[in-house]
């Protein structure tokens, strides 16, 4: 097959890519380097504009001497684990149901996907109003049914606040898990189920020995993506609890925000953000490893 060799100018690929590379260098790489520089100094806007080199002091303080940050790590984990479990189970359940729907699947899927398209801030605001004392829909519905008082405060204790946050997070992002798993389900060849049925397998057996094994990696990818995004949980907290009561729902991203923009400890906040980046980087590498493993298996 004769193809005409086109003259290739060496500079062309670089010229095409350079605008975005330049912008990435300017707005992402340079600030990251600057933040690292700051994290080694003691820049505190509430003290003054001057700052000097302090080495790794900010990092050692965060890792060994800062209960607030350690508690925020713990809070983040406490929110992530039940959220992931619920999102996976609910998402799988709904995806399995959708997979059986014959009429109107696209429209139902699009409707169910809407929460995932909404901003965390908007989702949180809607739910904050739903949970509202006196005028909230949930308390009023509870009063109508006779199980709740209108003055029930859904954010009164640390445990209840976390439960409420997890509920909102599950509402917000289960649709994402559902979409990912539905795509995975639809890529499973239907013949597998037919031959299993011919061999006398029950639908239940089919689920355990065909669906789950073939869906394993899709699930892993979905969980990884959600986990990485959950380490950045911020908007939901900002609106629902603002970290309260008593810092019990401060996530790592939210604590860093408060340290930076409430206490104005810019250097320390930079160090905290680098610790978060480190955590996310580990998770990202794990994610890429899972994907590579999956591609190797598929090939």
């Amino acid at each position: 097959m004769p193809t005409i060799a086109l003259k290739r100018k060496q500079w062309e690929p670089f010229a095409f890519a350079s605008p975005s590379l330049f912008l990435i260098a300017l707005v992402i790489v340079f600030p990251l380097v600057y933040a690292f520089y700051l994290s080694l100094r003691d820049f505190d806007l509430s003290v003054g504009p001057g700052h000097q080199f302090v080495g790794l002091r900010n990092y050692t303080e965060a890792l060994f001497g800062d209960r607030r940050f350690m508690e925020s790590v713990w809070n983040t984990i406490v929110i992530i684990i039940p959220s992931l479990a619920a999102e996976l189970l609910l998402g799988l359940g709904i995806a399995l149901l959708l997979n059986r729907v014959i009429k109107g699947r696209p429209i139902i899927t699009a409707l169910l996907a809407i929460p995932a398209m909404v901003s965390p801030v908007m989702a949180a605001m809607a739910w904050r109003m739903l949970f509202g004392v006196k005028y909230g829909a949930i308390n009023n519905l509870g009063r109508q049914v006779g199980i709740l008082d209108v003055y029930f405060d859904w954010f009164s204790t640390p445990l209840l606040s976390i439960v409420t946050i997890v509920l909102v997070e599950v509402w917000h992002n289960t649709p994402f898990m559902m979409l990912v798993l539905l795509a995975g389900l639809q890529s499973i060849p239907q013949e597998l189920y037919e031959s299993a049925r011919v061999d006398g397998a029950s639908p239940w057996q089919g689920f355990w020995s065909i669906t789950l094994p073939l869906l394993k990696f899709t699930m892993a990818v979905g969980i990884m993506i959600r986990m990485i995004d959950l380490t950045k949980l911020f908007g939901l907290i900002f609106v629902l609890t603002y970290g309260g009561p008593g810092g019990a729902t401060e996530t790592v991203a939210f604590t860093t925000y408060l340290v930076g923009f409430n206490d104005f400890r810019m250097s320390y906040a930079s160090a905290l953000s680098y610790l978060i980046v480190g955590g996310v980087l580990v998770l990202t590498l794990a994610f890429m490893w899972v994907q590579r493993y999956r591609e190797a298996r598929a090939a």
Partner: protein
């Protein structure tokens, strides 16, 4: 003869049972879907009806679920008193500009990667890592830089951040669309003496226009939804809808339900539009972080 009859009778019983099971299965399936729809869409329904209620409906017991005399009074008040119009326009302008800029910058980059494998695996890995990068790591140095340069409280500052932050996402999606594009058409244009850039604009772009629209809509909704950069880098004139809506939380438990719900409705409107417009691409776009702020 009798045995054969017996067999068909047994078979028809099996068929009947099988059919009943199937009908029951369908009923349960749709029941489950209905429950899911109520859970996931119920909050939106309540927010919309709340935004249309009259003020004394909020105090009523039994609660008013659907107002008998829906009114747009809260929207009017939001637009006149709470500077809602200004912030809604800000959101529209910032999202539109960032969307356009992200596409203009990302398309040639995606082309360089798709056609020339520019940067090898390094560049695409870098883009994936950048997509995972938490915004909190950027906001502190950006805030200090912007303060020094006088870029806080400006459209330019926010549009610049948004454009760059969504480059990785846009490039990833565009590479996919470009790979589907038949190279032969492009080569024909190049042989006719077209430059690469002209071929990209006049030959490739019209064909991948649907793909560009997908990326554009995702970029639009992503910038529309973004909160952290917006809350730190905007000032009184440049606030977006996302920042406006959080201002209602300061009212404590007696916050302004009317205006707050109206602003939530306006804030989620684009999400509804995009969810329907992009049905086929939702998985891909969401997985790549198309809507995350």
């Amino acid at each position: 003869m009798a045995i054969a009859l017996e067999q068909t009778r047994a078979a028809s019983g099996r068929v009947k049972r099988y059919r009943m099971r199937r009908v029951a299965g369908h009923v349960l399936t749709y029941l489950g879907i209905a429950v899911a729809l109520v859970f996931f869409l119920g909050p939106f329904f309540w927010i919309v009806t709340t935004s249309l209620k009259a003020n004394n409906d909020y105090f009523a017991f039994p609660p008013v679920w659907i107002p008998d005399q829906p009114s747009l009074a809260h929207y009017v008040r939001l637009f006149t008193n709470a500077s809602g119009f200004r912030y809604f326009t800000n959101s529209l302008v910032i999202s539109t500009l960032s969307m356009a800029a992200a596409i203009i910058v990302s398309l040639p980059t995606a082309y360089a990667i798709a056609r020339w494998r520019f940067g090898g695996g390094v560049l695409s890995t870098l883009l994936l890592v950048l997509r995972m990068l938490p915004a909190i790591a950027l906001i502190i140095p950006l805030y200090i830089m912007y303060k020094a340069l006088g870029l806080t409280n400006s459209y330019l500052g926010l549009v610049l951040v948004y454009t760059v932050v969504y480059i990785p996402f846009a490039v990833w999606l565009l590479i996919g669309f470009l790979r589907e594009f038949p190279v032969e058409i492009e080569e024909a244009a190049l042989i006719d003496g077209c430059s690469r850039l002209r071929a990209l604009i006049t030959v490739v772009m019209p064909v991948i226009a649907p793909g560009l629209a997908v990326v554009a809509l995702f970029a639009f909704i992503a910038t529309w939804n973004e909160f952290l950069f917006a809350v730190v880098l905007t000032g009184i004139e440049t606030k977006t809808m996302m920042v406006l809506v959080t201002s209602f939380t300061s009212g404590g438990t007696d916050m302004f339900y009317g205006e707050a719900s109206a602003s939530v409705v306006l804030g989620v409107l684009p999400a509804f539009a995009v969810a329907f417009a992009l049905q086929r691409y939702l998985v891909k776009g969401l997985a790549l972080g198309g809507t995350k702020g």
